[in-house]
Symmetry: C2
Subunit: 277 residues, 2 copies
């Protein structure tokens, strides 16, 4: 069996940047997981003494708090700063952008609609910037019961599939005077998705590596399933069932934007050593 990595996969600009910031700020703590990959977070803790704090009130004046790559809720950021906490912002710039758009559009009188998962920290953060509130939807059915004014600003979670986003836009455009569609899906997401689409069309089995709670990894897995029935989302080599590779000729591999290279390498090594037994 041949193993082939997707043309684009793994760490994106925002994740690389956040990890660099964490490594440069030893003996600190992130507020919430820096990225959606528990193994990389454990490495930062053991190698750089960067801890993980789940309650914003835990931070004391003078302590250093690293803001996670997904961003945090506006009021909590203000609370940290007003408490004298030394805030180091590792929010991905591609997430800061939709936060700014949400605020600006809400204040300009637009009804803000966010396409994404309302339970995801990125969306909790973006939504909190919409001064007059925002509606969060995951599909067209969510929109059907909602009433809007004439002017709508549409924002997407950075890690969503553009095809799904377009469906939301298509529902809104004929029904409102103005729909201002901000393409806030990040390029890395787009490129990783395109590469998985290409590879999964050719592969007999696909392995998508990333945290189970990683939104962008879940999207890659969903795209992979669309084209390759034997697609598996794993966190690391321990999740592999080697019967997946029986009688397969091409194994495609991709990884989410928060999956470090060392985990990807471990997976490739594990598969190679097993199939060559």
């Amino acid at each position: 069996m041949k193993i082939e990595l997707a043309e684009n996969y793994g760490f994106c600009f925002g994740v690389k940047r956040a990890i660099k910031i964490a490594e440069e700020n030893r003996d600190s703590a992130t507020y919430g997981p820096l990225i959606h990959n528990s193994k990389e977070i454990a490495r930062l803790d053991s190698d750089f003494k960067v801890g993980l704090v789940e309650d914003v009130k835990t931070f004391k004046s003078g302590e250093k708090a690293i803001v996670r790559t997904h961003g945090i809720v506006k009021d909590e950021l203000a609370e940290l700063k007003s408490s004298g906490v030394d805030v180091v912002d590792a929010t991905c710039p591609f997430v800061t952008k939709p936060q700014e758009i949400a605020q600006e559009m809400s204040e300009a009188g637009y009804d803000v609609v966010i396409f994404g998962d309302e339970a995801h920290p990125e969306i909790k953060g973006v939504r909190s910037y919409a001064t007059h509130g925002a509606r969060v939807v995951t599909n067209v059915f969510d929109l059907m019961d909602l009433k809007f004014h004439d002017k709508i600003a549409l924002i997407a979670q950075t890690t969503r599939k553009v095809e799904d986003y377009i469906e939301i836009a298509n529902y809104l455009i004929p029904r409102h005077k103005e729909v201002r569609v901000f393409n806030t899906i990040c390029n890395a997401t787009f490129e990783n998705q395109e590469a998985v689409r290409k590879l999964s069309k050719r592969a007999d089995v696909m392995i998508i590596i990333g945290g189970k709670n990683s939104s962008n990894t879940k999207q890659l897995s969903s795209i992979s399933h669309d084209y390759c029935a034997s697609s598996y989302h794993i966190e690391d080599e321990n999740d592999i069932d080697y019967s997946w590779f029986k009688n397969k000729e091409l194994c495609g591999i991709s990884a989410g934007a928060s999956t470090p290279d060392w985990i990807i390498q471990n997976v490739v090594n594990a598969i190679e050593s097993n199939i060559n037994k």
Copy 2:
């Protein structure tokens, strides 16, 4: 054979308004055809002495010029006014709106894209308001060779099909940071189109009445063809070939926004008297 009129058809708000304005301004002239219906224009000339002028320079100071419902080019409007011509504006308010949007968006730094027919007077007018120019496209292929900046404002000819407009938006959204989609397709157009869609699904033969150069009538005719192979676009009863109705059970009828009721009635009368022969 049964004859059934579409639920919505014929004269729209803007056309009714323009005709009322013309009737109230005897002994004047329109600059270009007031609406795209030569028979109604002939009636205004014979009954109200409202003539038709094709060259803007023909108007002299103190004379009355009626601006057609499709609007005119910005510079020509300014020229009429500065020449001391008494300008009576019969531009449909639903056309004034996209003119304003084109100007505002162009001046705000957006690349203005207009979905419509660049040879149509409405689009010549709307385009002229985009201070820094606008691109006019009729389909996705027209877009492929064009280069735009990050921010696009999208405007539609008032009489276009919303499905076609959405295709244009769908091409642009994934490729640009912001696409501001203005739904400038007018409600009357939308309602007439919906009604033709419903009726043509049931009818054996469809008659669409309106000027051959009327954009909205052409769109109705195109929708009708999608669902009913025996669809015919006629200007009046003289265009009818009665063999169309042979062995048909249901004849659906609709008419463009610039088709007066008296022409529709003539058509219905002609068909009825023929099939009852």
